[in-house]
C-alpha cells in the first residue's frame, strides 16, 4: 500500500457536496415505509385447504401459532390463532405447511398498546 500525504479534514469536500444533495433520511410518519417485496410479515391463512396436521405448531420455534378445529372431524371449521407477541416472523410454518394454506404478507405495522390484542385470529 503506497503511503499518501496525511492531512486533516479530508471529508470536507464530500460534506460540502452533501449540503446540496437530498438527505438520506426520511420522515417515516408521512413517507414510504421502505418495506420490500417479499418481506416476512403477518401470516395469511386459508382455512379451506387446511387439513389440521398441526405441523406448523410443531415447527414453530416460539409456539406462536395455534390451529384449532372447532367443528367435527367430518365437517371441519378450521381456525388459526397467532400470538403476535411471540411470533418472530421466521415463516417456518409457511415452509412446513404441506398444503400451503399459510403464506406471509408484507404487513408489519402490528404494534399494539395492550397485550391481549396481540393475540389475533388469522
Amino acid at each position: 500500500m503506497k503511503n499518501k500525504q496525511e492531512r486533516p479534514g479530508g471529508l470536507a469536500g464530500l460534506a460540502i457536496k452533501n449540503l446540496f444533495r437530498n438527505p438520506a433520511t426520511q420522515v417515516h410518519q408521512f413517507g414510504e415505509d421502505g418495506i420490500q417485496k417479499g418481506y416476512r410479515g403477518k401470516l395469511l391463512y386459508d382455512s379451506t385447504t387446511c387439513i389440521n396436521c398441526v405441523m406448523c405448531m410443531r415447527d414453530c420455534p416460539t409456539g406462536a401459532i395455534t390451529i384449532k378445529n372447532l367443528g367435527t372431524k367430518e365437517e371441519k371449521q378450521m381456525h388459526a390463532y397467532l400470538n403476535l407477541g411471540r411470533c418472530v416472523f421466521c415463516c417456518q410454518c409457511v415452509d412446513t405447511c404441506p398444503k400451503k394454506c399459510l403464506s406471509c404478507s408484507s404487513d408489519v405495522l402490528l404494534a399494539n398498546f395492550n397485550r391481549e390484542s396481540l393475540e389475533i385470529e388469522l
Binding site: M1, N3, K4, Q5, E6, R7, P8, G9, G10, L11, L14, A15, A24, G34, Q36, K37, G38, Y39, R40, R58, D59, C60, P61, V88, F89, C90, C91, Q92, D95, T96, C104
Partner: protein, 410 residues
C-alpha cells in the same frame, strides 16, 4: 486497608465503564484503574446478558433450534445459521446443492459488508467522528435493503435451512446485487482512502490497543484482531467450506497490530467481499436450492467452523438420535477475543478505552455464559426458595420484615 483506601492514597481513580455507558451498545462492565489519564489496570466483567441460548436449543427440535441459533447474534445471524446447518448436514450426511452453497456464500459476504460497515460507523462514533458514522450507516442501508429483499427481513434473514436455502435468488435480484456492489465499491474505496489520509483519524487509531502476534497466539484472538497482527486465520482460506472450495479468497492481513490495522483489515475485507460477490453472482449454477432434511439425526457428534464477520465461529452438536439435540455449543468469535482485552487496554489512555473495546467488534450477548462451579462445596446454584429465604434474612437484619409480602409463584 481496603482497595478503595489504597487507591485514594495512591491518587488513583477507578472509573467504571459500564454496564450502562454511552460507548457500550450492550451491557458489559470494565473497571478501569487510572493513574492520571493512563489506564493502569483493566478488569473485564461480562455476563450481564446471558440468555441461555444453548439450553433453549437443547429443549427444542432441530427446526425450531435453527431460529434460536439465528438470534444468537443480531449482526452475523447468517454466519451462525450457516455454521449450525453445516454441522447438522455433516451429521446427517446431506449433500447440499451447489446453487444453495452459492446463495449462502452471497448472503454471507453481503452480511460481512453490512457488519464491517456497521463497525466502521461505531468505531468512528467512539472517536467522535460522527460524520463518517452517518455516512457508513447510510451506505449500510443499501446492503440491508438488499438482504431484506433476498431473505425477507433486515437482520434475521432466515435464508438458511438444513440441506440448502429457503429462497431462490431471482435474476433481477442478482442484477440489483451487482448494482449495489458497484455503488458500494466506489464509496468503500473513498473510505479506504480516507482511513489512510485523514490525520485526526490516524492520530486516534495508530499505536492503540496493540496485540502483538505472540500475544494473539497466547490469548487465542481470532478474526480481524489476529489478521491485523499478520496471522492468517480466515477459515475461508485455511479450511475452505461451501462455496469457498470453488472460489479462492484472497487473504487480507496487516502488520500494524493495533486498532488502525484492524480498521484497514476490515476495509480491505469489504473490498474483497465485493469481489467475491461479483464472482459468485457470475458463476452461480442452476439447479435445486435444497434437499429434504431428516427430522432426526443419527447418534454422533459434529463440529464445524465458519468465518463470521468477527472471526471464527464454531458450532458443536451432539445427537442421541432424537429429534432434538442433546448438546449444542456455540463459540461466537467475540468470546475468543475477550481474553486479550485487559492486555490491550492496559498502558493506554482513558480516551482510548472505548475505541479499543470497539475494535474487537464485541458482541456481548453472543458471548455471555453462565458458570456453574462444581467441587470444593462451592455450588453456586441456589433455587428460588433459598434465594427468598436469604433475602428475608437480609431484610430482617436491616430491621424490615418482608415475610408478610406475598410473592407470585413463577
Amino acid at each position: 486497608m481496603s482497595d478503595r483506601e489504597k487507591n485514594e492514597r495512591n491518587h488513583k481513580v477507578v472509573v467504571p465503564i459500564g454496564p450502562q455507558h454511552p460507548s457500550l451498545k450492550e451491557p458489559g462492565s470494565f473497571k478501569i484503574t487510572l493513574d492520571g489519564e493512563k489506564v493502569e489496570r483493566a478488569v473485564v466483567e461480562i455476563g450481564y446478558n446471558h440468555r441461555g441460548i444453548e439450553k433453549a436449543c437443547e429443549s427444542r427440535n432441530y427446526i425450531q433450534a435453527l431460529y434460536i441459533i439465528e438470534r444468537v447474534c443480531g449482526i452475523c445471524s447468517h454466519a451462525h445459521t450457516s455454521c449450525f446447518c453445516q454441522t447438522f448436514e455433516d451429521l446427517a450426511g446431506l449433500e447440499v446443492p451447489r446453487r444453495a452453497h452459492y446463495i449462502r456464500g452471497i448472503v454471507g459476504e453481503l452480511e460481512r459488508l453490512h457488519s464491517h460497515l456497521l463497525w466502521l460507523g461505531v468505531a468512528s462514533h467512539e472517536i467522535g467522528f460522527d460524520t463518517l458514522f452517518m455516512y457508513t450507516w447510510r451506505d449500510r442501508e443499501l446492503v440491508l435493503d438488499l438482504l431484506a429483499r433476498i431473505g425477507g427481513n433486515r437482520v434475521n434473514y432466515g435464508v438458511n435451512t438444513y440441506g440448502g436455502v429457503r429462497r431462490d435468488l431471482e435474476p433481477e435480484l442478482m442484477e440489483d446485487v451487482l448494482h449495489v456492489c458497484d455503488l458500494l465499491e466506489e464509496k468503500l474505496k473513498y473510505y479506504a482512502d480516507l482511513a489512510m489520509t485523514e490525520s485526526t483519524l490516524i492520530a486516534r487509531l495508530k499505536g492503540i490497543g496493540v496485540l502483538l502476534p505472540e500475544d494473539v497466539k497466547k490469548y487465542s484472538a481470532v478474526g480481524p484482531v489476529a489478521r491485523a497482527a499478520g496471522i492468517m486465520d480466515d477459515i475461508r482460506v485455511t479450511e475452505p467450506y461451501g462455496v469457498f472450495r470453488e472460489i479462492a479468497v484472497n487473504p487480507v492481513t496487516d502488520d500494524h497490530c493495533d486498532v488502525y490495522g484492524r480498521t484497514l483489515v476490515r476495509v480491505k475485507e469489504m473490498l474483497e467481499a465485493i469481489r467475491l460477490i461479483r464472482i459468485m453472482v457470475k458463476e452461480i449454477p442452476d439447479g435445486p436450492i435444497s434437499v429434504r432434511p431428516p427430522r432426526k439425526l443419527p447418534v454422533g457428534e459434529a463440529l464445524s467452523r465458519v468465518e463470521a464477520p468477527r472471526g471464527e465461529d464454531i458450532h458443536y452438536i451432539r445427537s442421541t438420535g432424537a429429534d432434538a439435540p442433546d448438546r449444542v455449543r456455540v463459540r461466537a468469535p467475540s468470546e475468543a477475543n475477550w481474553h486479550g482485552m485487559s492486555h490491550m487496554l492496559e498502558g493506554f489512555q482513558l480516551a482510548d478505552v472505548p475505541i479499543i473495546i470497539a475494535a474487537i467488534d464485541p458482541c456481548y450477548s453472543c458471548t455471555d455464559r453462565a458458570i456453574h462451579l462444581i467441587g470444593d462445596g462451592v455450588n453456586q446454584l441456589t433455587d428460588w426458595a433459598q434465594i427468598r429465604a436469604l433475602s428475608i434474612e437480609q431484610y430482617k437484619a436491616r430491621g424490615i420484615d418482608p415475610g408478610s409480602i406475598k410473592i407470585r409463584e413463577f
